[in-house]
Symmetry: C3
């Protein structure tokens, strides 16, 4: 009887400690095999992120790859929905790279607040939300519930360098 009680206590404490453990975004990125990039500086009179109070507003980012090239083309013609979602995921990595550059440590993120996802697509393409899930899923994988954001997903006529997607983001930080 006493043994069973002790076992239950131990198991409960163990479970609680796992639940209470803060989500470590840097560790999660490692587990996902994602390596952040060194953010480049814009060659113009703007910056990639501005902090005001506890909010960081990030510039529109594109699906930059580690070699500096962009995923380009229109979803619904040049790219499938799945390829669009992969571009959205790549854009998330680009945004996280900038955010890490600003914060030093991604565990300072309190909440991904708001995201505007602008998908380069054809006029008859209507699955912009599925494309943006490539972004949203990664955010929740990395930040847990803190990664759940308000979101708009829309279809664009034209984007810089014909990139497949442009995403801007507002984050609340410590």
């Amino acid at each position: 009887m006493k043994k069973t009680f002790t076992l239950i206590t131990v198991l409960t404490l163990l479970t609680l400690s796992i639940i209470a453990q803060p989500f470590d975004p840097e560790k999660r990125l490692n587990e996902l095999g994602i390596e952040l990039m060194t953010p480049t500086k814009p060659m113009a009179n703007y910056v990639k992120a501005v902090r005001t109070g506890n909010l960081i507003f990030l510039s529109g980012h594109g699906p930059s790859k580690a070699d500096g090239s962009l995923i380009t083309g229109k979803v619904g013609r040049d790219l499938t929905t799945e390829q669009g979602a992969a571009a959205a995921r790549q854009t998330a990595i680009s945004l996280l790279s900038t955010l890490k550059g600003e914060l030093g440590d991604l565990s300072k993120v309190r909440r991904v607040v708001k995201v505007l996802g602008m998908v380069n697509c054809t006029e008859t393409y209507t699955d912009q939300p599925k494309v943006m899930n490539g972004f949203s899923d990664l955010m929740v994988q990395v930040f847990g519930d803190k990664g759940k954001h308000a979101r708009s997903a829309v279809g664009m006529y034209a984007l810089p360098s014909n990139m497949a997607i442009e995403i801007e983001m507002i984050v609340e930080v410590e």
Copy 2:
């Protein structure tokens, strides 16, 4: 003489009490015959609204009707400006439904701050502001001066499910 003075005093107090009476948005909705909907949960890793400090950022909403269907089509081809404005008004109801779900009581709204209205339209359509007035007029009917917001109204190439309009909103709350 004394009677006239008393009458003026009473009338003045009455007028002041009407002016001073806070705009009751829930009562206004009732008077307008508008019933808010039960907000649905997104089937993906995002949410319909995120609060940070005194601001609530709402996701892009579409013109959802009570039966769950959307008003679809392009303004300037499938829909007239008036029908577009009706879709914008319906989107306002959808946003207010989400906001009420977040706040419990819409009288906690201190100010509708900023709105981005994205109208699904043809390339030559140029009356996006008239379409967005369907949204803005309802906000002022419901919240009075607190409903007056900063706004952008633009024309989109493509929107999810071919909905007629997508609107996102930032609100300051108590």
Copy 3:
């Protein structure tokens, strides 16, 4: 020896005082020969700017000229990139005019935080960032480093009155 020392001291202090001198945006506008316009009131239920806390959210503005007319047309067909950049600069002047109307004095600006630049363009046009530099360059000329903002630059299908560009802006103020 003592003379040289004194000279160096004086020069150092002079240099420091120039560096330390706060950027005076009103003076800079004068030097640039830019006269702000008297902001007009929207003829609908929205306003050109809303303040919440230390942030001012400005409505989407277009390239209004002093005579009230707008620069119209699509970049890539009706307008060159240079003409588009001039329209973006004109929109910056329009936004600053509204901001001055709100603040009384532009030296109360602590930071231009975030900008969304929506360029009316053709489907194959990809130089939206070059167009937006017309806006960003003026902001930095007027505000110095405080004028450096987070930014998104995208290509639109249609804009109100066929204007060449629409820009919305978030500013942190004293």
